[in-house]
Structures are given as structure tokens and as C-alpha cells.
Amino acid sequence: MSGLADRIGTDRLRQWLPLVTLIVLVIIVGTMQPVFLQPSTLLQLASDTAVLFILATGVTFVIMLGGIDLSIQSMASLASVIVALTVARLGYGAFALAIGIGVLAGLLSGLAHVRLKIPSFIATLASGGVLYSSALVISGERSITLPDTERAYQTWITGTPFGIPNVIIIGLVVLLVAHLLQSHTRFGRYSAAIGAGEPAAYASGVKVSRQKILAFMLSGGFAALAGVVLAGRLASGSPTLAAELLLPSIAAVVVGGTAITGGVGSIWRTLVGALIISVVRIGMTFLGVNIFAQNIVFGVVLIVAVATTIDRSKIPIVK
């Protein structure tokens, strides 16, 4: 059975399977529901994907290193609460504050992981709990709606100046920044090196700890940005606003073809993965699948994607 899994995971398939899957899915949903292929529906799809994509982008950096960040949904929710509480007083500063706290939270997770040598999934499970608790406390355990007077600050998120929603533009900027970080900086190359083989990277003088902490800071910052955008789109902040987004985000990264073992992957793959998740979600909605039951499908998709992308040569013992 494992032989079969190894064969499915050949390199060529790994590279092109996600894109082919996306195209096939679009064609299937398009033939079932021709409405789906109209420009307005596609724009809607792209806007809906943006938040998921931003979250997934952040966690891509961590997964590239061979780690995982399970605190992103709590961070995004906390960011939405911070924006909702402070936008009246701080104006645009509220957004900067939320993202700054995201970066800080990432720094703390990264320090706990690297300095205290705690496995990343447990460190971020714990820090996610701390963030969730903070969001509950400062919001008074309720959802905070943004009053109309403060919605002017949100137009950079909700506006549609040239027929294209600003959310899509924010998503594209994130894509560009993340691509530059990954392909044109030392951080990006070191990350790939650490993911591909940590002892080798360490022996060649890469400051492994620093790259890891940086990746967690990026993950926290992008998660906070996603929360800010979500708060803008829903005109509210709540400690559970992004609670349903952890699984789809990680699924988007691995469905796109980034290996959970690290070293193999890119932002473009995450973009494809995020679009696949969105198309699947819309397809299921057309088919009338209950929104909570959709988690069954995402759970299965996640396991199948991990099983096909994982690099088994790197882990002699799977724990």
C-alpha cells in the first residue's frame, strides 16, 4: 500500500497535478452551473479566496521550513477584535497595531519553538490558545460590529474603484511581496535549504534559528492581515471570526503541492491550492452540501494531499 503511495508521489505529477486539478474542477463546476463562469462570479470567487490565500501564504513560509503554525486562525480572530475595538480612536493606526501584534505573536511563538526546543505544532497549539484567550478577554466574549461612522476606514478593503474589488488587489500585493521574499532574498533561499535538510543547512553556516523565527513572524503578520481584511469585509470583529479557517488554509498549502516535510513548495502553489479550495467550496455549495459538513471533504482532501506530496525519503520513521 505504501508502494502505491510512493508511485503516486512521483516528481512530475507532484508539480502539475494541482494546476490540472484546478482546471478540471473549474470545467466541472462550470458545466454544471454556467453562472459560475461569468466575470462577476469569478471576481466574487477571487475576493472570497483572498483571505484564505493571505493566511495560507503566511503558513507557507513555516511549512517550507518543515514546521507548522496552528495558531493562525486565533491570530486572525484576535486581529479582527483589535481593529474593531481601536479603529474609532486610532483610525488607520488600528490596522498597523493589529499587524504589529501579529508579528510580535509570531516572534514569541518562534522563540518558544527555537529557544525552548518545543515542536512547532505544540508551541503554536499553545500560543494559539493564549491568543484566543486574549481575544475573548479584550472583546468581552462577544462579537463587535463596526458602526457606520467607522466604515470609511475600511474602504481600502471593501471598495471597488475600477470594477475590481480592492480585496483582490491586496491579495495580489501579498502574492508579489511573498514571491519576492521567497525567490529574491537570502531568507527565502535559506528557508528552502533548511526545509530540504536542516543539518546540512546548519553545517553550511545558515543561522537556522533566526530564519525559523522570521518565518513565524511572517506567519503571524500575514495572519493578522488576513484578520484585518476579514474584519473589513464582515464589518465586525469577533474572537471566533476566523475559527473555521485553519483547516482550509493548511489544506490550501499542501493541496497546492508544498510538502509538509519542507523544502519543496512556493507561493504560486499556495495560490493554486487556495483557488482549488475555493472552487471546491463553491461547487459543494451548488450541490447543496451543508457548510459544516464541508469539513469532512476538507479533512479527506488534506490527508490525500499530504499523502501524495510528502517526501518519504526524508523521514525514515513517521511519528
Binding site: S133, V137, V306
Partner: protein, 304 residues
């Protein structure tokens, strides 16, 4: 030690802590985390992790509430329903084990997927409703008392005894320790690693199902949010008890101590008037502190 110290401090701040009714309250709060923690201990002893606690528990609770005497349909299977639920829990654990072992997917990814599959299935079955449980036996677990403690507490203690026997007096228990201590060595000495792993995940699934039955008894209804936050408490209890995440070190008795620390602390915080929302954050910090202080970590060169 920590547990005793904690009890002394809380007693000084609020003497009500030592009353019998508070002991009963603590035992009631501890019974579900204990049963869940027992299952998770076996997995963590192997050096793996199980994030599907909430999935198994929620699905079990919901299925139980639909099969016993309830307020939504005319089923009344009684004890047969309990057996079905245990089988469902075992099945979910079996799925975890088979995917993890045969597809070689790391356990935290497998169980993350199964977590959401379980909760999703529970949601699909319910369609957003909550079902009231009228079955006298299930309700009795929480309401009827034996020697002053609810029956559910005795059931949880029974589970503890069973777990102790499995851990100390069966081959499965010894093999689990062997796997956590060093998997190559275990495999070389002729242990079927795949079988032990699958059996351990199945066993854990049964414990989560029992946790689901107790949760159903305690709340008197089945809904899909019943599992929220339980994974967190479970992992906190196991690692605070001193079972090492790297595997090989720990025991179900330490998990009992860990559960009591977590429950006594939150009970103490309630007595001191700390809001429940803060407790999640405190548990998060406890996980980090406990793992950071655990012994085996220095041996690991690469931490992922």
C-alpha cells in the same frame, strides 16, 4: 508536588476548596479530561500525537444522542447504542492508525484531518440541531450517585484501572513504551510496529468515545459544539503530568496527576473569581512551560 502545592495555596486563599462538595465538583470536572487523557497518553507515549480528540468525542456524543431515548426521534436502543458508539470511536481510531501507518502520513496531519472529518460528520448528522437525551441510564451517569460521587466518576476511575492494566500487564503496553523509546530498536527486536501503532490509535478512539458518552451524560444533550476546547485540555493534562512528547517516558498515572493539576487550577481560578476565558490562555502557557521543562528535549538536535 505541584499538585499538593497548588492545593495548599488555593486552600489558603479560599478555604471552601477543601469542602466535600468541592471535591465532588472537581471529580465531576476531571472525569472527562481523564478519560480523554488516558487515550491520548498511549499515543504520546509512542512519540506521536492525536489531534482528533474532539472529532471522536463529538461524533460519539451525537451518534449516542440519536440512538438512545431522545427528544428528536423514536430510537431507544439503550445499551446497544453505547456499544455502537464504542465501535464508532474504535473505527475512527482505526482510520487514524491505518492512514498514519500505511500511507506514512505524520500523525499530527492525519489526526488533524480526522478531527475535522469527525466534527463535520457530527454536524452533517445533526444539521445544526441539538438533541435532548432522555435515556435514564445515560443521564444517570451524571445525576445518580454512588458513595457520594456521580456514577460517571466511577466509570472514569474504571477506565483508569483498565488503562493501567493495559499499560503494565499487556504486550501492547510494553510495546508502546518500546516504540517510544526507540523505534528502530523495537522493530529490530521483532515487534510489529505497524500493528502496535494501529492498535494504540484504535484504543485511543475507544477512550474518546467513552469521553463522548460522559459528555453526553453531563450536558444531557448531543450537539456538535460539545467538543470545543477539549483537545487543548487533554494535551495540557498529558504534558503537564510529565509524559514526554518525544515518547517513551510517562504513564497513565502521571496523566491522572496532570488532569488534577489542570482541573484544580481552573477550579481554584473560579473560586478566586478569574473569568473562564482567561483559563484557556493559562493552559496554553502551561503547555509551553511543561514541555520546555520535560527531560528528553536536550537529546534532540532538530526540532520541527
Amino acid at each position: 508536588m505541584v499538585l499538593v502545592l497548588l492545593c495548599v495555596i488555593i486552600t489558603i486563599i479560599n478555604p471552601n476548596f477543601l469542602s466535600f462538595s468541592n471535591f465532588v465538583r472537581i471529580s465531576q470536572a476531571a472525569m472527562i479530561p481523564l478519560v480523554l487523557g488516558l487515550g491520548a497518553t498511549f499515543i504520546i507515549l509512542m512519540g506521536s500525537i492525536d489531534l482528533s480528540v474532539e472529532g471522536g468525542l463529538t461524533l460519539s456524543t451525537v451518534i449516542l444522542s440519536m440512538l438512545v431515548l431522545n427528544g428528536a426521534n423514536s430510537n431507544d436502543l439503550g445499551l446497544l447504542a453505547v456499544l455502537i458508539v464504542l465501535a464508532v470511536g474504535a473505527g475512527l481510531g482505526l482510520v487514524n492508525g491505518v492512514i498514519h501507518v500505511h500511507l506514512k502520513v505524520p500523525s499530527f496531519m492525519t489526526t488533524l484531518g480526522v478531527w475535522f472529518i469527525g466534527v463535520g460528520a457530527a454536524n452533517a448528522l445533526l444539521g445544526g440541531m441539538a438533541i435532548r437525551i432522555n435515556d435514564p441510564f445515560i443521564r444517570g451517569l451524571a445525576i445518580e450517585r454512588f458513595l457520594g460521587f456521580p456514577r460517571g466518576v466511577w466509570l472514569a476511575l474504571g477506565c483508569l484501572v483498565v488503562a493501567l492494566v493495559i499499560q503494565n500487564y499487556t504486550r501492547l503496553g510494553r510495546y508502546i513504551y518500546a516504540l517510544g523509546g526507540g523505534e528502530e530498536l523495537a522493530a529490530l527486536s521483532g515487534i510489529s510496529v505497524a500493528r502496535v501503532r494501529i492498535m494504540a490509535f484504535t484504543l485511543a478512539g475507544i477512550f474518546y468515545a467513552i469521553g463522548g458518552i460522559l459528555a453526553a451524560a453531563q450536558l444531557g444533550l448531543g450537539n456538535a459544539q460539545i467538543g470545543n476546547g477539549r483537545l487543548f485540555t487533554t494535551v495540557t493534562a498529558v504534558v503537564v503530568g510529565g509524559t514526554a512528547l518525544s515518547g517513551g517516558h510517562g504513564s497513565v498515572l502521571q496523566t491522572l496527576v496532570g488532569v488534577l493539576i489542570v482541573v484544580v487550577l481552573s477550579n481554584g481560578m473560579v473560586l478566586m473569581g478569574v473569568p473562564p476565558s482567561v483559563q484557556i490562555g493559562v493552559q496554553g502557557l502551561m503547555i509551553i512551560a511543561a514541555v520546555a521543562l520535560s527531560i528528553d528535549r536536550k537529546l534532540m538536535r532538530i526540532v520541527k
